[in-house]
Assembly symmetry: C3
Homo-oligomer: 340 residues x 3
């Protein structure tokens, strides 16, 4: 398993290609939010990404000879439940990836909108790949800032180590120039080792916030170990923004039962300083996917977040905005997903 080593080129098949692909997921769910003050809000919803992130991809690649290659990768999220695409205007259309790359045996250079190195450990070492109610990022806070670097960065300059460098080492360094916008100047890196059953990585990234305010600094480690049947997965992330800081731990596992895949996740967040001083939260959940084919699956999730103190985390749905301050958020869903 070398998924966390993926450069843009290795995200697609080898050789020359031009292709359109995607994953579409739709489910029916219920989310119940409760605050410590007794406010309760329940929403039933059709939603878009209970198990797999709904995306459309356009990718191409050309081998230039002598080990050199070039390609592009355009990816957008799809709100399959309503027909929306990308981020709401004025956000971009290709809101996940928009990049052109050029590589050879010395590595790969990519420009454009690319996954932040500090996101890789958090998505590839989450059993849910940060999708749906059980997605692992829901306890990770921007600590009151409006930094745009938690997932991907626009206008970025990227260097990836060549695949399989040094027998399994991988690396990704990313910088953005800021271009006069606050919350968008970022520098970060991710280095790791993936070989056989093991995949471990460490990453660090710094984002400038608004003028006169401190940087948002994230450090994280992630790892997976595949025992053949059972796979253990986890990450730890620390962020600091001036006096505010967070420590979030996630542990998970995946294992098969027949043609079903079972995924378990547990995470815990501890916050100090700033708007979340003394807050605590934990999240736990299970997902089962029943595969009807290699590309089509039916799934169900159970998920819960518990908050204490100033914590108000909740299951990720834009529909239920009812308060969970010091309370809980509980949800379940069932749906199906189709890759093509």
């Amino acid at each position: 398993n070398i998924s966390s080593a993926q450069s843009l080129a290795t995200s697609g098949p080898a050789g020359d290609y031009l292709r359109f692909s995607g994953l579409l997921d739709l489910g029916i769910g219920q989310v119940i939010n409760k605050s410590a003050a007794g406010i309760k809000g329940t929403v039933n919803e059709v939603h878009q990404a209970g198990s797999g992130g709904s995306v459309l991809d356009w990718m191409g690649r050309e081998n230039l000879g002598g080990g050199m290659y070039s390609g592009f990768f355009l990816e957008t999220s799809v709100q399959t439940d309503t027909g929306g695409i990308g981020s709401p205007p004025p956000g971009p259309y290709f809101n996940r990836t928009s990049a052109v790359y050029l590589g050879n045996q010395w590595g790969e250079l990519a420009l454009g909108q690319v996954r932040a190195p500090t996101y890789s450990n958090l998505v590839f070492h989450d059993p849910m790949f940060n999708n749906g109610y059980n997605g692992g990022m829901k306890l990770v806070s921007a600590l009151g800032t409006k930094v745009n670097s938690l997932y991907q960065n626009i206008n970025s300059i990227n260097y990836f180590l060549p695949p399989g460098a040094g027998g399994g080492f991988y690396g990704h360094v990313q910088g953005t120039l800021g271009e006069g916008q606050p919350n968008q100047k970022y520098f970060g890196w991710n280095f790791g080792y993936a070989s056989g059953p093991v995949d471990v990585g460490v990453a660090r990234g710094t984002t400038q916030t608004t003028p006169g305010n401190p940087n948002y600094v994230m450090t994280n480690v992630g790892g997976s170990y595949d025992f053949g049947v059972l796979k253990l997965i986890g990450f730890y992330v620390n962020s600091k923004y001036g006096a505010a800081s967070q420590n979030v731990y996630l542990a998970g596992m995946t294992f098969p039962i027949g043609v079903n895949q079972v995924k378990l996740t547990y995470s815990r967040g501890l916050y100090s300083g700033g708007i979340l001083d003394g807050a605590r939260a934990n999240a736990a959940g299970v997902q089962v996917i029943h595969f009807l084919s290699k590309r089509v699956g039916i799934y169900g999730n159970l998920a819960r977040v518990n908050n204490s103190g100033a914590a108000a985390f909740r299951l990720p749905t834009p529909q239920n905005t009812s308060s969970t301050l010091g309370g809980s958020s509980t949800g379940f869903d069932a749906g199906f997903r189709l890759a093509f």
Copy 2:
């Protein structure tokens, strides 16, 4: 002719596929609006859907064995005259259909944005398929509400009877959960029979409006009979919103003259209660399509709407917003259409 029986799966070809297709239509037209008070407004325009609705489609399907299948259907309208796509922001990009489905011999389950069951009779039993100046929906009113259910519903849960169930019976049941938004909670169904020359259906749908106000309830029937050369087509629709109600009748026919197809339509609307109390309107028109190939055609339309009382219906173009209160709207166009 079983077009009104289409589930999402039967909208595309059989077997496994991934495809991009569409229909693009552009024409030049003139619309003259006159009000009873003597106001007259004339607009010449290039427009987008004189005969066929300009759309782009992305569809895929995989057979899962044992009669089970899964697929997706993404469809957006295209404003070919200006280059726009979907609904204007914040409306969705895939503004016609955005759905994933799973089916077997017991029927088909689909989630996402899907045609409302109450729209099927009005589009499939209109000789113009509700496109252009002669489209059949122009006398159908939302009766002063802002319900979003006249054409399709987002966040919907759908069940379709399997194709050919019981020797020609078809059915579609749809519900939406509302998700905290007004005008979007809907439940409706359409059942019918299509076999040989006959296709008849009946549908009913209820949409919640804003809190404290009555539901918008639509009931309709539609049918077609194909005499081999001549095809007769028609629908009747009744809607109620508290004291307001409408009854709209449409009758039409299609027949060939050589390689040309001729389409005639006549409709009449009677309104009582509410903002349209005592209003009357009728619409009539003709369309001729000259096919240059199976996929390419040249067309022309003549269309007219006559209003009396509080009726202010007009030919569907966003360019001519001049009043037709108690007056008329007249238009003609010529254009071409290309399917791919």
Copy 3:
């Protein structure tokens, strides 16, 4: 070289086809703006079109027999650096071209959004095809109007002479109906001759501005001569808006050095009357492209604009909006481009 003779049909391959293609370009650049008053602004940026315009194209064509054909052409620009597409809402998605066409030996009729005839000489007779810091349009002003006709027109009706008419003559006539919007009613034409090494054209276009104000009238000529190794390219454009007028001259050349292509450009603008009375500006630059394959290239640009009087032209980037009034704008970049 008959590029400036392109109708919509001849923009794609011959025969029946349906295809998706594009060109994606990303570079890193710096732009330094200085005003005569001593204000200086420097921006470093990742940008989208240093050498080739980043676009996505969807095109299709069907031969109908007897020399008749029909097709469509949808083109959008891509902000590859951020993931944006088309024009910012409410601008269109297919912001370059959205058209359906029908042609035979007598010519080609096209409706929709199509390149203005008055733009053809300015883009096809610019060695940079109006892309990047060295793009030739940066000294061409709308003279204080908000006319939308400098590049392409929506809602347009177009006639193209058939390719190769009269042994090399080409022509394009375009009109728009305005449709009640200011700055959008246009009539223009472009006629020329392209055969062997020579390609020359002349164009004129008139755009209605806001009610009560004069028309914006543009006249231009452009030409290229290919000496085999060296190609000379240039245009002259005059625009008038009431008392305001501009005269812009551009001269350029392209030649190879090994697998590299070198492009030189020099332009000069003289303005009188209106907001730019007495203003002068010139622009010069060089671009080198090193081709790694037929479709992939690495490039670099050096570019400069000098202003005097009321001129405040600058290198085209939305990031550096620092004043260049009576001053200069200097930039350089390096990047890569990939066609597919």
